[in-house]
């Protein structure tokens, strides 16, 4: 025992040493194997449980028979509309912040450090707190305020809706956008920037004509990652706009909307007939996984291309 612990073992301990080596490789390899199998098991279970219902009709039809049959079209549509609205808010704002951080801010300035810290904090706040914020700020403060001003006495904006949900989600995905756009901007070589400046271009002209075109793929990656995150998060929209079933698809910013993730949650925990809808739950989960995977994988590919460009 003692010997094995010493840094350089003697030849006597070499058998022991080999054993320890094998054990450590074995144990750590086993840990990796466990994690990989978790991923594989989840994916296969969801596919096995869900592929039978995975039909064109399922994707394009409304739910019927009190959500125990039919498709999930409104949930898919709701998710798409919500993530689009969310991107409209998060992508420009995130891009602008990333541009500021990488192009304007001096790396060690207080301002830049504050913003960086804020971005990290934003990324670590639990998503349910975003939900509370959405309720307290967008619904209760902004929405109610708007109602008091424009339509006193009636509730128009002062209740959960797709706009408030999207904005809440936009806030949640903001750091995702900022980080990936900043990473992309950094792949635009300094020399190219210098060349533009030396030609008498202003900083803004350089950003507009050199930096942004050069980091488009990063902006796209950020957008994709944000969408994937927004499609998968449920907690922030629990009380800012998601609904279990709606007779119509969202037709205005003040409508509530159905959401894939929320649909899974409600079907599997809230509906009276959990067992009957289990196949639907599996397939809905499969659709959600498929959606986020496609998005994530395309982001990974885009990103690795970007990183190769950097090398």
């Amino acid at each position: 025992m003692e010997q094995a612990a010493t840094f350089i073992s003697t030849s006597k301990g070499s058998a022991k040493r080999k054993l320890y080596g094998n054990i450590s490789v074995g144990v750590s390899g086993f840990a990796a194997l466990v994690i990989v199998s978790i991923v594989v098991v989840i994916i296969t279970t969801v596919i096995i449980g869900g592929y039978k219902n995975f039909t064109w009709e399922f994707l394009t039809q409304d739910p019927t028979e009190g959500m125990t049959a039919g498709g999930i079209f409104p949930a898919i549509l709701g998710t798409v509309i919500m993530t689009m609205l969310m991107s409209v808010m998060a992508v420009p704002l995130g891009t602008v912040t990333a541009i500021y951080l990488s192009e304007y801010a001096k790396p060690d300035s207080k301002f830049a450090r504050t913003i960086r810290f804020a971005v990290n904090t934003l990324a670590s706040i639990p998503s349910i707190v975003f939900g509370l914020f959405g309720l307290g700020f967008f619904v209760q403060f902004v929405g109610k305020g708007m109602d008091d001003v424009f339509t006193p006495g009636t509730l128009v904006w002062g209740q959960p809706n797709i706009l408030w949900a999207s904005m809440t989600m936009g806030l949640l995905t903001l750091p995702v956008v900022i980080v990936s756009v900043e990473e992309a901007i950094r792949t635009v070589p300094r020399e190219v920037r210098d060349a533009s400046l030396a030609l008498g271009a202003t900083r803004l002209q350089t950003i507009r004509k050199i930096v942004i075109p050069g980091s488009l793929s990063g902006i796209l990656t950020g957008m994709i990652l944000a969408i994937s995150r927004g499609a998968g998060e449920v907690a922030p929209i629990l009380f800012t706009g998601a609904a279990f079933f709606l007779p119509q698809i969202p037709h205005a910013l003040t409508s509530q909307f159905m959401h894939l993730g929320y649909h899974i949650y409600v079907l599997s925990t809230q509906s009276a007939n959990v067992d009957k809808t289990i196949p639907l739950q599996y397939t809905t989960t499969m659709v959600l996984l498929l959606l986020t995977f496609t998005l994530n994988i395309s982001a990974v590919i885009l990103r690795s291309r970007l990183r190769n460009k950097l090398k």
Binding site: K106, A195, S196, L199
Partner: protein, 282 residues
């Protein structure tokens, strides 16, 4: 030494280089009109001093060559002249740099206006990831030129002057990144010429070029001298001797010696200069 160069140039098919040598002015430095002057310039990267008390006058419409061992601050000095060091975090500068008598580090100076007048060719070629045409037209567009035919003219003229027209005329709309390093460097020269600056800073413009292109660039420099003030950094003593009127020798951040090229190369005043020129160190 001179014969050797002429031989080389004849091989490359550019006998004009001879003229460069012959026409080099023989008057003393003091007799030139000054375009850019620096006084007691000190530059620090963080706490590391990269330039120490550099005082130097750059004559108008002449070619000034900077020579010196690697890391002695030639590029750094060059970048102080168009304030490109501004973009380096932690870089501080003291002293005075005057362009046409205007202090370019005056807070009231518009640095963009300065850079429009001071073109730069970087040590490492840095074309934009755009087409050849876009690269050359970038500067004029920034200056407000919108007319397509004018832009086409500028692009052609600049590419011709930079001796790269023949190679690029059929591929004007191809990405610049698809060209060789030497071609890219000439493209960068063309890009710098397209804005018609008053001073052109060239940081080892020929380091990645073959002898023919080098000769063409040298020819171009001689041509440009009629209109522009040119500063060129080079590690090639022969090149400095061939193209420049004035030579400045830097050593570890200090300006050791400056004088007419002919005098510097035939009769250096300082021991370090002599050692460097004759290749004993560096």
């Amino acid at each position: 030494m001179e014969t050797m160069e002429i031989q080389k140039n004849q091989e490359a098919g550019t006998p004009e280089i001879k003229t460069v040598m012959r026409s080099a002015p023989r008057s003393a430095v003091l007799h030139y009109e000054t375009k850019v002057s620096t006084r007691d310039l000190n530059l620090f990267y963080g706490t590391k001093q990269a330039l120490k008390d550099v005082s130097l006058d750059i004559p108008v419409k002449q070619v000034t060559a900077f020579i010196g061992p690697s890391g002695c601050g030639k590029s750094t000095y060059l970048r102080t002249l168009n304030r490109m060091n501004d973009t380096i975090p932690g870089c501080t500068i003291t002293g005075e740099v005057k362009f046409d008598g205007i202090d370019i580090y005056d807070p009231k100076l518009d640095v963009v206006e300065l850079r429009k007048r001071v073109g730069m060719v970087f040590q490492k070629s840095n074309p934009f990831p755009k087409s050849i045409w876009e690269n050359v037209a970038y500067g004029p567009k920034i200056l407000g030129e919108k007319n397509k035919t004018t832009l086409n003219e500028i692009v052609e003229k600049s590419l011709r002057r930079a001796a790269i027209w023949e190679e690029t005329k059929d591929r004007l709309h191809h990405s610049a990144l698809g060209f060789s390093g030497g071609q890219q460097q000439r493209l960068c020269i063309a890009r710098a010429l397209a804005t018609n600056p008053e001073v052109i800073l060239m940081d080892e413009p020929a380091s990645a070029l073959d002898p023919i292109s080098t000769a063409k660039i040298e020819e171009l420099i001689f041509e440009l001298k009629k209109e522009y003030t040119i500063i060129i950094v080079t590690h090639n003593m022969q090149q400095a001797a061939r193209v420049s009127d004035i030579t400045a020798f830097f050593y570890i951040g200090e300006l050791i010696e400056v004088g007419e090229t002919r005098d510097m190369f035939t009769n250096p005043k300082k021991k370090q200069t002599e050692d460097y020129i004759t290749g004993r160190f560096g």
